[in-house]
């Protein structure tokens, strides 16, 4: 294993050097960096040209200038990274640090959501293969593959931001919307839930009624101006989550797991009021993270205490339940400040942002900042998700179908295991192996692809760094961009291989 890793690592370093060299040459040769000065009419033209030549080492030919750049990278090992300067004589290192933050934020969040959604939908479609749901999702996936992201982004800006903000001015849901959405939701659930006609009809009725009721409630309680889950919503969700997580994680027959989950849910509900109106004030980011870790730890402990002979699955179930319940409560806390945020002087009732990654100079609490982040992230995230999520559904569907066709699944069924055990324990885990490698690799490439999204939504991120650099034929910012995308791609490629080797015992790396 060690030799394998070392060998891959050495190969990766050479690939990195070759790729950066190629990239540097291509950028440097893509145009004339002095073009704007040559055509200028400034009296001190010659001086300006000379100054820029000296600044960017233009007197050194590109195939050698690369080594000046790589020497600056080499200084990173002694703690003094030097990525050169831009045409405007700004140090790229500083620019990169600013840009990388906002881009990483966007890419990380959208990728996490896309993975979770893609996995869930891909796996359910594989389990319900050839159903209306499966065909529907397959068609949607093809459609999403075919969508130009910049086109989607403009539509999102128009309807998701401007349209929704207009709607928020006077949030009245038109009378025909509730029944239409109710029927749609009924049809969707009907195609997901298996069974004969009778069961389908019941599913349709329940889903349609529930959707209709929620919409009518939202309209009646002016939900869009003052969004909330409320204690009633939290209680219902918490108990539902406890049952659902237990059913998937250990099966409802495992009573101890169910009781542990319900206990965790009860603790969450009991802490609702103290949290909402008590210790959530004055919260900082570190406190929030600490609280999240604490929640998982305490839930895990409760599960452990309930445990019985086989503690770990019970504790795991309780921890997952605890995390989700806490997330719901935190969501409610964010919603609680929504109105305060939306009506504040800087927002003026148009909360969903079309441009930028944060409201400048917003002086507010942690929770309001969270909402601000959400309103800025929501549209670019949707745009990015639509596309990567489509491929994840296809991967996970193909992967699970392949596994479900294996002999050991038949064996598992033949020896009388429940469907849940067969799917979750035998099939799902094995299906995850190839998906894990794909995901690891995709993360490496995501930043490069965010260039277009960033441009449409006016984010000052890595995409802008790249584009501005390229427009000025300035290799330094372009290379800074590539330094991050390229090394992430290589690192995650390496991780993908290691993950694969680690997860799949059939692969022996010697």
């Amino acid at each position: 294993m060690a030799t394998f890793v070392v060998r891959r690592l050495i190969a990766s370093i050479f690939i990195f050097l070759a790729a950066t060299y190629l990239m540097y040459q291509l950028t440097a040769l893509s145009g004339d960096p002095l073009e704007d000065l040559r055509t200028s009419t400034a009296p001190n033209k010659a001086q300006l040209i000379e100054a820029r030549t000296a600044l960017l080492h233009l007197d050194v030919p590109p195939y050698l200038r690369y080594f000046i750049w790589i020497a600056g990278i080499g200084k990173c090992f002694i703690g003094q990274c030097d990525l050169g300067v831009t045409v405007q004589n700004q140090p790229v290192t500083v620019l990169l640090a600013q840009a990388a933050g906002s881009t990483l934020q966007l890419v990380t969040i959208s990728n996490i959501v896309a993975i979770i959604l893609g996995l869930i939908i891909g796996i359910t479609t594989a389990l319900r293969q050839y159903s209306g749901y499966d065909y529907g999702v397959t068609f949607m996936a093809f459609l999403f593959f075919s969508l130009p992201i910049f086109w989607v982004a403009v539509l999102l800006k128009q309807f998701g931001a401007i349209g929704f903000n207009d709607f928020l001015q006077n949030p009245q849901i038109a009378g025909w919307i509730a029944p239409v959405l109710a029927v749609i939701s009924g049809l969707v659930w009907m195609s997901i839930v298996p069974g004969k006609l009778r069961r389908k009809v019941i599913t349709f009725a329940i889903a349609a009624l529930a959707t209709g009721a929620v919409i009518v409630y939202m309209d009646a309680s002016d939900w869009f101006s003052t969004p909330h889950i409320g204690i009633v919503g939290v209680v219902i969700t918490a108990i539902g989550v406890a049952f659902a997580v237990t059913a998937v994680s250990t099966g409802l027959k495992r009573r101890r797991a169910l009781y542990a989950s319900l206990t965790v849910a009860a603790v969450g509900i009991a802490l609702y009021f103290p949290f909402m109106y008590g210790f959530s004030y004055g919260m900082q980011l570190w406190g929030f993270v600490l609280l999240a870790v604490l929640t998982i730890g305490v839930s895990f402990g409760i599960g452990w205490l309930w445990g019985g002979p086989d503690k770990l699955p019970v504790a795991r179930t309780a921890a997952i339940t605890g995390f989700i319940v806490a997330a719901v409560i935190a969501l409610d806390r964010f919603m609680y400040v929504w109105n305060q945020y939306a009506t504040s002087g800087q927002i003026k009732g148009r909360p969903i942002a079309t441009i930028g990654s944060a409201t400048p100079n917003l002086d507010a609490s942690f929770w309001v900042h969270g909402v601000d982040l959400f309103t800025h992230l929501i549209l670019p995230t949707i745009a990015l998700i639509l596309i990567s999520f489509a491929s994840y559904t296809r991967y996970s569907r193909a992967s699970l179908l392949e596994v479900m066709n294996q002999d050991y699944i038949r064996t598992a069924r033949a020896k009388g295991l429940t469907e849940r055990t067969v799917v979750v324990r035998h099939a799902f885990r094995n299906a995850l192996i190839p998906i894990a490698t794909i995901v690891a690799f995709d993360i490496g490439g995501l930043i490069g692809g965010a260039v277009i999204t960033e441009r449409v939504f006016g984010w000052v991120g890595m995409g802008q760094l790249f584009q501005k650099g390229l427009d000025h034929v300035d290799p330094n910012p372009v290379m800074a961009f590539f330094l991050v995308t390229g090394s992430l791609a290589i690192i995650f490629n390496l991780i993908a291989d290691l993950v694969y080797a680690g997860l799949d015992p059939r692969i022996r790396v010697s």
């Binding site: 190969a11 690939i15 990195f16 790729a19 291509l26 040769l29 893509s30 293969q129 050839y130 093809f142 459609l143 999403f144 593959f145 075919s146 969508l147 130009p148 992201i149 910049f150 086109w151 403009v154 128009q158 596309i387 990567s388 491929s391 991967y395 193909a398 992967s399 179908l401 392949e402 066709n405 294996q406 002999d407 190839p434 490698t437 794909i438 690799f441 490496g444 490439g445 995501l446 930043i447 490069g448 692809g449 965010a450 260039v451 277009i452 441009r455 449409v456 790249f466 584009q467 390229l470 590539f482 995308t485 390229g486 290589i490 490629n493 291989d497 799949d504 692969i507 790396v509 010697s510």
Partner: protein
């Protein structure tokens, strides 16, 4: 030399999930047909792919006949009264005259832009350019990818290492980035150079897939037989192995074309693709995105054509995948199954076949690369959902080494 397994019943041998009845249904259908005939038959059974093909043909015809076309010095006129760079008086505020009820086309079905150009003509020109790029990219990338993959998969060893490390280098650079850098320099020269450039960076995924295919096919008996019969390497590669890998190649180059069209539009959108005075679908959207509130038709039509073309090509790829995959069996209708069931007089449970397999995962891979280039940049790796990747592991010792 068929990739379709013999449809005859072999006692004691069943593919998982396939019952005798289904085998006999399948067997009757393909008996006495060549591989080409089987593939064609299966392809035409895929309704979505067929519809996509009809729609795509219609779009191609419409685009190339309406406003006329130009290849080098050879020029034809079209039947549409306006061209893409002709400004005429604005009628009706530039609004589209197309309406469905009652059906009228009017003088400017897709509307006009602020200087009076007919948007139908502009979109048709953009479609032409995008289609041309799609085809050229498909051809170039398929050619390079196949040759690189075939050589490294067949010869293995040092050649393989060199070629695959080179592929790794290209893969490391996100497609949109290398496309932008090269497009900035060569995009000015026109559509064909741009397409050649894109083709020369998009082959990497296909090369890895073809290599994997060659690695496994070269160990098969028919290759040994050919070698024993005295065939030279070139003949073995092109006459014996390549036809067996043709399914993977065709399916993936189709899907590659779908991603090529998205990449071209994205580059043109960023301003590194097709330049003025010429136009492309991405450029139309880029030029007009701020006008969405006032003139949304400038924005709807090019977008719809991009989606229509990409969706059609994706569906054709899907149909080809179904047609080429020997493991892909048509799911017999319940009635057919019941009939076969009665005829066989057996009481075996009816099991439904599943699809998936190499081509399915490969298809997922390539389509997602098209998307991945937008959302995810370099996301390219030879990926079989069901198989561990060969290239990153030490090759198992084989007898001939």
């Amino acid at each position: 030399m068929s990739t379709i397994p013999p449809p005859v019943e072999q006692p004691g041998h069943h593919e998982p999930g396939i019952t005798d009845q289904e085998n006999s249904i399948e067997g009757k259908e393909v008996a006495g047909l060549s591989q080409g005939q089987i593939v064609r038959k299966r392809f035409f059974r895929h309704k979505g792919a067929l519809a996509a093909m009809v729609l795509l043909s219609f779009i191609i015809l419409l685009a190339f006949t309406s406003v006329g076309t130009q290849f080098g010095s050879w020029k034809t006129g079209g039947w549409w009264p306006y061209t893409w760079n002709l400004s005429v008086a604005i009628e009706n505020g530039g609004r589209p005259s197309l309406s469905l009820f009652p059906f009228t086309i009017g003088s400017h079905p897709f509307g006009q832009d602020e200087v009076g150009r007919d948007i139908f003509a502009v979109v048709m020109r953009g479609t032409q350019q995008s289609l041309q790029i799609m085809v050229i990219v498909g051809l170039v990338a398929t050619f390079i990818g196949t040759v690189v993959g075939a050589i490294s998969g067949y010869y293995r060893g040092f050649t393989d290492s060199v070629l695959m490390r080179f592929t790794d280098v290209i893969i490391t650079i996100p497609v949109i980035v290398i496309g932008a850098v090269l497009g900035r320099k060569f995009g000015v020269a026109g559509v064909v150079p741009l397409a050649l450039i894109l083709g020369s960076v998009l082959w990497t995924g296909l090369a890895r897939l073809v290599r994997g295919e060659f690695l496994s096919l070269r160990e098969r008996e028919f290759v040994d037989a050919a070698r024993v019969a005295g065939a030279r390497d070139r003949r073995i590669i092109f006459r014996h192995i390549l036809p067996n890998a043709i399914g993977v190649i065709i399916v993936n180059s189709t899907l590659l074309m779908a991603s090529a069209i998205l990449i071209e539009t994205a580059l043109s959108y960023l301003g590194y693709g097709v330049r003025a005075p010429d136009t492309s679908l991405g450029k139309i959207i880029s030029d007009n995105q701020t006008a969405f509130a006032t003139r949304p038709w400038l924005f709807w039509w090019p977008g719809l054509f991009i989606i229509a073309i990409a969706l059609c090509v994706n569906f054709i790829g899907d149909g080809l995948r179904d047609a080429f995959d020997p493991r892909q069996r048509r799911m017999p209708t319940e009635r057919n199954l019941a009939r076969a069931h009665r005829a066989a007089g057996s009481d075996q449970p009816l099991d439904t076949p599943t699809d998936g397999g190499d081509l399915d995962s490969a298809a997922a891979f390539v389509s997602s690369r098209g998307a991945g280039m937008q959302a995810g940049g370099s996301g390219a790796r030879t990926f079989y959902a069901d198989k561990p990747r060969d290239e990153d592991r030490p090759a198992p010792k084989r007898d001939d080494e």
